[in-house]
Symmetry: C2
Subunit: 290 residues, 2 copies
């Protein structure tokens, strides 16, 4: 019956379903298969928690090619493929915005809640906004806040759609272009820099954080969501392992320790840097105060 529905061979479907059973994605009883509970929750397109779209980015041809050239990356100390994933207007970042959204949604809500606890936000800069989830979560928890979302123009279309779908479009403004080139404006009391710093070397991160510092009001906050390994660089596993992805896919990016993020932020002029105890799923929240 599955084979019929999939227009595939019975033999192929039997072997595939057995394989998925062995790996706990399916449950086999006699000759019939049902979804295991994790699969039903996360891999059924009709589930609100569906995360299967993430593979459109995680297994995109360019990213796979980056990893296929890992040996060269280790030899040279950076991606073997030119600018790796960071070439301008790379359409893979549209796939990222569309595909990864369900993976970050929960973390974005936790982050917005944590930031709101400390104080209300009014004018918010969301740098490399991607799917927009982080800025939109802040907009939802700060009903007076206006969000200025920055990213490549093609990517911002995804963020805009999400802002519309989530009812905050009237307070959602687009600032297209490279975060390194455009004018952010100023008067912000909050800036979000989420999953961005890991793509660049420390000096480039410092340059960006200096721009953020200038755009913020005195007392303003820069909220950084990042993979933050411990100082041993081998724990916790997910954050620490992310360095290898950056080695394969970027010229000089890395997963930075809190000490490194602190030193980058201080060099950019920030007074105080805190590591929030909350966990944003795989990310941590670092807050730099102007």
């Amino acid at each position: 019956m599955i084979a019929n529905r999939c227009e595939a061979s019975e033999r192929g479907v039997r072997i595939l379903c057995d394989f998925l059973t062995i790996h706990n994605f399916l449950i086999k009883q006699g000759a019939s298969y049902t979804l295991a509970s994790d699969s039903a929750r996360f891999l059924d397109r009709r589930s609100p928690a569906y995360i299967g779209s993430a593979i459109d980015f995680l297994l995109s041809p360019r990213l796979r090619e980056c990893h296929a050239h890992l040996t060269d990356a280790v030899r040279h100390g950076g991606t073997a493929l030119g600018e790796g994933m960071l070439d301008p207007e790379n359409a893979d970042w549209v796939k990222y915005a569309q595909g990864m959204m369900p993976m970050v949604r929960r973390g974005a809500d936790i982050m917005a809640t944590e930031l709101r606890k400390e104080r209300e936000a009014h004018k918010v800069l969301d740098i490399a906004a991607s799917h927009g989830m982080f800025g939109i979560a802040v907009a939802k928890q700060n009903p007076g806040a206006h969000i200025y979302a920055n990213d490549w123009k093609n990517v911002l279309e995804v963020a805009k759609e999400n802002a519309v779908a989530m009812g905050v479009a009237d307070r959602y403004h687009l600032v297209p272009g490279s975060a390194f080139d455009i004018d952010f404006g100023n008067g912000y009391d909050l800036a979000l820099i989420t999953n961005m710093l890991h793509g660049f070397d420390k000096s480039t991160c410092t340059t960006l954080m200096r721009k953020v510092h200038v755009a913020l009001n005195p007392g303003g906050r820069a909220a950084i969501a990042e993979f933050v390994p411990n100082s041993d660089r081998v724990s916790p596993p997910t954050a620490a392992a992310f360095s290898l992805t950056m080695l394969a896919a970027t010229a000089s990016g890395d997963a930075y320790t809190f000490a490194e993020l602190e030193s980058i932020s201080k060099a950019a002029g920030f007074k105080r840097i805190d590591l929030s105890p909350v966990e944003l799923d795989r990310n941590r929240l670092v807050i730099a105060y102007r």
Copy 2:
């Protein structure tokens, strides 16, 4: 220092070694790395238990391509790539013979010991001998036995080298060509069919087993080493999962249950078929009696 030795960047080597530490291949203390015990035993080329050579086959381009076209294989019920891995004189089988040898050595010794317990062997046919380890193990435990090793000509060069290295060359004879086409001769009291039947459909397996039946003396044994899943086809995991590899890489191969191997052997004329309780690492030993 590692970077220097590898002529690689310090940054690349640091990130790679951290990643290998996270996955328990290395142990990190401060800024230095040592081999974890499993790595020292199995992944150091100087170790007698080195199995790293297996990737020369397991990650060979053709086999990877087979898996890359898995969706098509599921749809059609067999490899998407013509004859898959089974085209004649495919040089990957030389890589298999060279690379997989350390993976099967222990299982080959266990099998030879088990076969010797029951009775001594004199004239032994080793079909699809590959690295020759199974036949050579029998030769070592049966000092009077002569081994007739069959495989493609290019593959038999590896088996011959191993027979020389292990001191049984004077009792080691080559029978090059396809097991389906050549004349095995007769008068054998033992035939070894190791990791071969899974590459073919049941009817082809029966044809081969019938040829073996003819080549054996009355009372002779056919010893089959195979991935043998339980009748649920989802346990034990390694044997059951092997079906997917066959789906990806062959037109109609599979991991057969004992009941299927029994039915194939009986159809070929064998009187009795036993599943030996010993485990040959990932394989099981099935003995068919003429």
